[in-house]
């Protein structure tokens, strides 16, 4: 019975992911199968059937602009059609700003002698990819501990042993996802519309305490074994500044629900990674001969500095 349930869970997760992917690929015209950016300055259009080559070669049939600037049309340098006449590559004179969605207007598509009407399509990066880049960004590239220097008190306090580190990391991830989503909801639908954003700090810290209490109660009832393992870390979560910083960042950047979820999840997992790395080193350090004055925290700080230097190598990296 249990195995079945797990399968259902995996299936439903896959279904949700598929829906997101579908949402990202949705096109406005039935004859156009796919549009995507290629390299720095071209756009690929895939049609459902072969198109008329003479029509496709005419640059006047395409007009394209960045979504916020509908009046400025981009100049198309060259159009190339693939041998099977289904794929058209538009090459532009200048590099495209791929962070902006582009609106492509293809007039009077001609395929096998028939006109198929005008199509408006949006060319943009996959939304799923964008979400994923937020997740990885918060987790590694802008790791909260090593590149934003937050949550250090708890970080140094609980990174002595691997088991503690993992326990703390998991508890923290659960709480932060919980509280960040509540904070996002409250901020978007209560604080912002009523111009109460100056109450951010009070509301967010209240929500964090609330969600810690909630997770505590739920865990105690549902899974006492798990509570025994992770209960001790719950109290420490409140003293972690990441848990306040994430809602503040969400409020500043105006993320939507999915993006907020990804950022919170990334922050939690990033903290877990940082704790795990640090505890691995500190377990080894216990065996090393460290000068008396450096024993304990000072050497831990130096190690963290080395990690931070290493993480600097990730900075500015962009995925998708």
């Amino acid at each position: 019975m249990k195995i079945f349930r797990r399968e259902y869970l995996i299936l439903s997760v896959l279904a949700v992911l598929g829906l997101i992917l579908l949402g990202g690929c949705k096109q406005e015209h039935r004859f156009i199968k796919k549009t995507a950016f290629k390299d720095t300055n071209s756009i690929v259009i895939v049609f459902a059937g072969p198109v008329d080559e003479a029509w496709a070669q005419n640059t006047g049939n395409y007009s394209i602009y960045e979504k916020p600037d509908p009046d400025i049309k981009l100049k198309i340098g060259k159009v190339s059609v693939s041998p099977d006449k289904r794929t058209v590559v538009l090459t532009f004179e200048e590099d495209l700003n791929q962070d902006q969605p582009h609106i492509l207007n293809i007039s009077e598509i001609i395929s096998e002698g028939k006109s198929l009407g005008t199509a408006f399509v949006k060319v943009k990066k996959l939304y799923f990819g964008y979400l994923f880049s937020i997740l990885i960004g918060a987790m590694i590239i802008n790791n909260f501990v090593f590149t934003k220097y937050l949550g250090l008190c708890v970080f140094f306090g609980t990174s002595q042993k691997k088991s503690t580190a993992v326990g703390m990391g998991i508890t923290f991830t659960i709480v932060i996802v919980f509280s960040a989503m509540m904070a996002w909801f409250l901020y978007q639908f209560v604080l912002k519309p009523y111009r109460l954003d100056f109450l951010q700090i009070v509301v967010f810290i209240g929500l964090v305490s609330l969600s810690v209490q909630a997770v505590d109660t739920i865990l105690r009832k549902l899974n006492p074994a798990l509570f025994k393992a992770f209960g001790v870390y719950l109290v420490l979560v409140i003293a972690n500044c990441i848990v306040i910083a994430v809602p503040l960042i969400l409020a500043d950047n105006e993320y939507n629900g999915w993006e907020s979820l990804m950022l919170a999840l990334g922050a939690g997992l990033g903290f877990l990674i940082a704790l795990f790395l640090m505890s691995s080193v500190r377990e080894r350090l216990d065996l090393a001969n460290v000068p008396t004055t450096y024993r304990g925290l000072p050497i831990a700080f130096v190690v963290a500095g080395l990690f931070a230097l290493a993480f600097m190598g990730f900075s500015g990296m962009s995925i998708f």
């Binding site: 937050l150 250090l152 100056f198 500044c241 306040i244 050497i299 600097m312």
Partner: protein, 205 residues
């Protein structure tokens, strides 16, 4: 801990040396690493923390007899959050440039363990003047630590102090890089440890 017997000056010195929040108690280290790149930053955040600590200590000390023991922690949190909001709004309004430098850290004062700890350990048991001086000591201790770090990092990293050119060249750019904050804090802690060890040895011998 019963009501303190220390004099006011002892309370202040205690905050700066024996119980320095950053180097000795190892609390609220995020800003110590994150924005101690210049002396000015250290000074400004120090002032903000001093303000929040002193006002929260005094507030709790005033109402210490009315607080129901069961809702002690929520009351502390509410008090701190209120004063943090106040200083946040004031800084944003009157010192926008400095506020931008400090970024999110002003708001994060609310999560500083040091303030809650002083309220729990000291302010809820002592009179208003004693709490005031304890708050001043802790705030000054924090400010002192931040400024020391800022001094080292700004002088070595950019060759300037308070934005004025002192050395005329940049000895080690590394110190301005954010990662160097960890090294500086680690080395400062080691120095504090060393002084303590040397002092104890001298007392014994």
């Amino acid at each position: 801990m019963p009501a303190t017997t220390k004099t006011n000056s002892q309370l202040v010195v205690n905050g700066i040396l024996n119980e320095n929040p950053i180097f000795r108690l190892a609390l609220s280290m995020c800003p110590a690493v994150g924005i101690s790149t210049t002396v000015m930053n250290g000074l400004l955040l120090g002032i903000a923390v001093l303000f929040v600590q002193v006002f929260s200590s005094c507030t709790i000390s005033v109402i210490r007899n009315f607080i129901h023991p069961k809702i002690r922690i929520p009351t502390y949190t509410l008090t701190i959050a209120t004063w943090v909001t106040v200083i946040d709004l004031v800084l944003a309004a009157y010192m926008p440039a400095a506020y931008k430098e400090m970024g999110i850290f002003v708001k994060l004062i609310v999560a500083f363990a040091i303030i809650t700890m002083r309220l729990e350990m000291f302010a809820c048991k002592n009179s208003v003047p004693a709490s005031f001086w304890d708050g001043v000591g802790m705030g000054l201790g924090f400010m002192f630590a931040m400024m020391t770090l800022g001094f080292v990092r700004e002088l070595l990293g950019m060759g300037t102090l308070f934005g004025y050119d002192i050395l005329g060249f940049k000895p080690l750019l590394f110190f301005v890089l954010p990662a160097a904050g960890f090294f500086c804090v680690g080395i400062m802690m080691a120095i504090y440890n060393y002084v303590e060890l040397a002092y104890n040895r001298k007392k014994k011998g």
